[in-house]
């Protein structure tokens, strides 16, 4: 036998983290800070904080198509731009070329990916809300799917832990529906927004608050220690922020992990399989393929964290077959890849606001208002389950109002250089119920250019979501009308698909019973406990709040548990 011990040693770590995004970054930080040597595997290109933010400081005129999508780019980024303009010239570097990374749609799925260091944390919406107590109990109470194996109290200290580190600006309000966290000073509301907040409370008893957003309004020492500075109110976050004003893995968790000198990062490296050891009944490492050279290598570790994004983490489990797990690692329950959830959106209303002519805003607020769930909450009862929250706000119209107005020439030109009237609008983010028939799986025959089976999506909104959408539009219209705004118009886009919320989750759910779930209450694969899945795949229900902070809290909790178990030699 010809063992290359040196190379084996170079390929062996305490932990392997697959993915460098929102949860991969947090896993690497938490594990390295607890003394583990960590290998982080990122399938995409390396992006260096600040120096690789190529579009960050460009003026509008420096983008050839001024933010519009060329036909060429629309074909490359067909999933990103099927509905809107996610991957435009400003933000394109942080989205993934769909043509080069194809997937199959049995039913349409808007799969938005971010294959590079930092993943989707580079362009996330940064809205950060805790799930509430009832979110964790609803499945059990309503007999939907399975119960969560944890409750709010299990996650509460970890929410605080990650909120402090991330840095979230917001207002504590004391509402059960939207538990307060640890916040930096809140961003201000504009004059019409303050009026709206008061009116909604007075006339409809519906609370409105300023968004809780991962932008630093008052950096704390642990933020500045990592080189992060206050938000500059440019609202160009998705280009990458040279000030580290918003949280991403690149500005936060990865630098923190690097400080320990225990982090190794491999880029352009696709994790193709988890290597399962039939003797020890544990995973012993990960097989990878170099994105460019196609070279295959193996890396070994005591524990493996899957943080590849819900769909890719599930795909990795499904592709890791062995005689113990013929249908994929941890897939005894046949739940891997099922129960895809997201938040459905594209529904809301907008209006014009009369008055407040003398009010204006200096700076661009990278944030909006938040209207927490009021449906099926307290005494409210509707003919659908669960609820939705709204995000939106007021803005003073600029030159673009002229496109739909009549008029041209010198005085029109002059008029366009001044602010117009206020407009106000918001759209909902609705909870999606788990449904095992909403799923992704691996195609038996078709493989990508790395020889990995292609992912097939087969998911759609159900009756509950469609009923909720009608109410989402009607209530948005109602609120703007009650506020006395004019030209109120509702919208309910019919051409959105699951995935577009970019909150895709649920494909390896936690649960108490290994027969009906993939992960236990600490995100460990039931039958292979040294594999942890701590991205959105672990979610048992979706709540209606933006999920990243929950994923991060879950990750930190799982990392803490993993290290304790390692010390007890249980893994």
């Amino acid at each position: 036998m010809n063992l290359n011990l040196k190379s084996d040693k170079a390929h062996t770590f305490d932990a392997i983290v697959v993915g460098s995004g929102m949860t991969g970054g947090m896993a690497a930080k938490e594990l390295t800070e607890r003394g583990l040597q960590v290998l982080m595997i990122e399938r995409g290109r390396e992006v260096k904080h600040i120096e690789d933010y190529d579009t960050a400081m460009k003026g509008p005129w420096e983008f050839e198509h001024r933010g519009k999508i060329s036909i060429h780019s629309a074909e490359e980024y067909w999933a990103n731009n099927r509905f809107g303009t996610l991957a435009n010239e400003e933000t394109g570097p942080f989205f993934t070329d769909d043509k080069k990374n194809p997937y199959i749609e049995k039913r349409p799925f808007d799969w938005i990916r971010a294959y590079h260091t930092g993943g989707k944390s580079m362009h996330w919406g940064r809205q950060s809300y805790r799930m509430n107590k009832k979110d964790f109990e609803a499945n059990a109470k309503e007999g939907i799917a399975i119960d969560w194996p944890i409750r709010y109290e299990d996650l509460e200290p970890w929410y605080t832990h990650v909120e402090k580190f991330v840095g979230i600006s917001g207002q504590a309000e004391g509402w059960d529906v939207l538990p307060d966290g640890h916040y930096l000073p809140a961003m201000p509301m504009s004059a019409p927004e303050r009026y709206f907040r008061e009116t909604m409370m007075k006339k409809l008893n519906r609370p409105v608050t300023i968004g809780r957003v991962a932008n630093l309004t008052k950096p704390q020492p642990w933020h500045t220690d990592l080189g992060r500075a206050s938000c500059q109110y440019r609202s160009k976050c998705a280009r990458g922020c040279p000030y580290g004003g918003y949280y991403s893995s690149l500005s936060g968790s990865i630098p923190a992990a690097r400080k320990t000198n225990r982090l190794t990062v491999l880029h352009d490296t696709i994790a193709s399989e988890i290597i399962y050891d039939e003797k020890t009944q544990k995973a012993k490492g990960v097989r990878v393929i170099n994105q460019h050279t196609m070279a295959v290598e193996e890396f070994f570790a005591k524990i493996v964290f899957l943080n590849a994004g819900s769909m890719n983490s599930a795909a990795l489990l499904l592709n890791s077959t062995s005689s113990r797990f013929p249908t994929g690692l941890g897939n005894d329950s046949d739940q891997v890849g099922r129960n895809i959830m997201d938040h459905h959106l594209g529904v809301g209303a907008n209006a014009t606001v009369e008055g407040f002519e003398n009010d204006y805003i200096f700076g661009q607020r990278p944030n909006a208002l938040y209207i927490p769930r009021f449906r099926n909450w307290g005494s409210d009862k509707k003919d659908f389950l669960r609820g939705y929250g709204y995000q939106g706000g007021a803005s003073k119209s600029d030159w673009k109002r002229g496109i739909t107005m009549n008029g041209f020439g010198a005085s029109f030109k002059e008029d366009m250089s001044r602010p117009g009237m206020w407009t106000m609008g918001f759209g909902g983010f609705g909870e999606i119920l788990p449904d095992p028939s909403n799923r992704m799986f691996l195609d038996k025959d078709k493989k990508d250019k790395w020889g990995i089976p292609m992912i097939v999506f087969d998911a759609a909104f159900g009756e509950n979501e469609l009923a909720m959408r009608k109410d989402m539009m009607a209530s948005a219209v109602e609120m703007l009308e009650v506020a006395g705004f004019k030209n109120v118009a509702g919208f309910n886009r019919q051409d959105t698909h699951p995935g577009l919320g970019i909150h895709d989750m649920g494909t390896a759910r936690m649960g108490k019973d290994p027969k009906t779930s993939v992960l236990n209450k600490f995100n460990q694969v039931h039958a292979c406990k040294n594999v942890f899945v701590t991205d959105g795949a672990a979610m048992v229900s979706s709540s209606c709040v933006n999920p990243s902070i929950t994923y991060m809290a879950m990750t930190a909790r799982a990392a803490d548990h993993a290290v304790k178990e390692l010390k007890k030699q249980n893994l």
Binding site: G59, K68, W78, L345, K413
Partner: protein, 202 residues
């Protein structure tokens, strides 16, 4: 409300990561999910190019600040139509130019030109309504690829006005001379308008 406004608002709801100027033009490129080939090369005659120049300058004339021609808007419009629009818009744009050619637009007096454009603007209101009905019908239909290819493009006046405004107000000179350009605000403040307050641009 029209689809464009809907998209703009909805995209804003995605968390505010998208800046509004990028969201104006998506509603008519419904057909890009499968490869139906790139549009034919978009060519204008010399006289048509001169009409584009003239109309752009009439929408945003040179005053104390630069006009559309000064900042290269006419070239921008042709480039944008070639790169970002498909056959239906190419057709409707050329139709609009042919109409003006028939009117001997370039030979008209300033007053006559103004009268012709005002009429074009009035006519485009109905064209826009028809366009929106067509887009709504198209919705998420199974055969919308095919429908999109046969559909009528955005009216000439809408294309002309939108691209002129986009080209002008996002050009360096147009932006800096029209607005108070603040690339790095550094703070967020709710303020009162000053007399003759210009818009802030970021």
């Amino acid at each position: 409300m029209n689809r464009r406004t809907a998209i703009t608002h909805v995209a804003t709801m995605l968390g505010g990561v998208l800046s509004a100027p990028t969201l104006l033009a998506m509603s008519r490129r419904e057909g890009h999910t499968t490869s139906e080939g790139f549009p034919m090369e978009f060519n204008l005659t010399e006289s048509q190019k001169m009409i584009v120049e003239e109309v752009a300058e009439m929408i945003i004339p040179k005053t104390a600040t630069p006009g559309a021609k000064d900042v290269g808007v006419p070239t921008f419009i042709v480039m944008m139509l070639q790169d970002c629009y498909k056959t239906p818009e190419h057709k409707s744009f050329v139709e609009g130019l042919l109409y003006l050619e028939n009117k001997q637009f370039l030979n008209l007096s300033a007053e006559q030109k103004m009268a012709v454009l005002k009429q074009v603007e009035i006519d485009s209101v109905e064209e826009m309504k028809a366009y929106q009905i067509q887009q709504t019908k198209m919705g998420d239909n199974e055969d919308r690829e095919q429908m999109a290819a046969q559909a009528k493009g955005l009216p000439f006046w809408r294309l002309m006005k939108e691209l002129t405004m986009l080209g002008y107000f996002t050009s360096e000179q147009g932006m800096k001379s029209s607005f108070e350009y603040v690339p790095i605000p550094g703070k967020l403040e709710m303020i009162k308008m000053k007399p003759n307050q210009k818009s802030f641009a970021y």
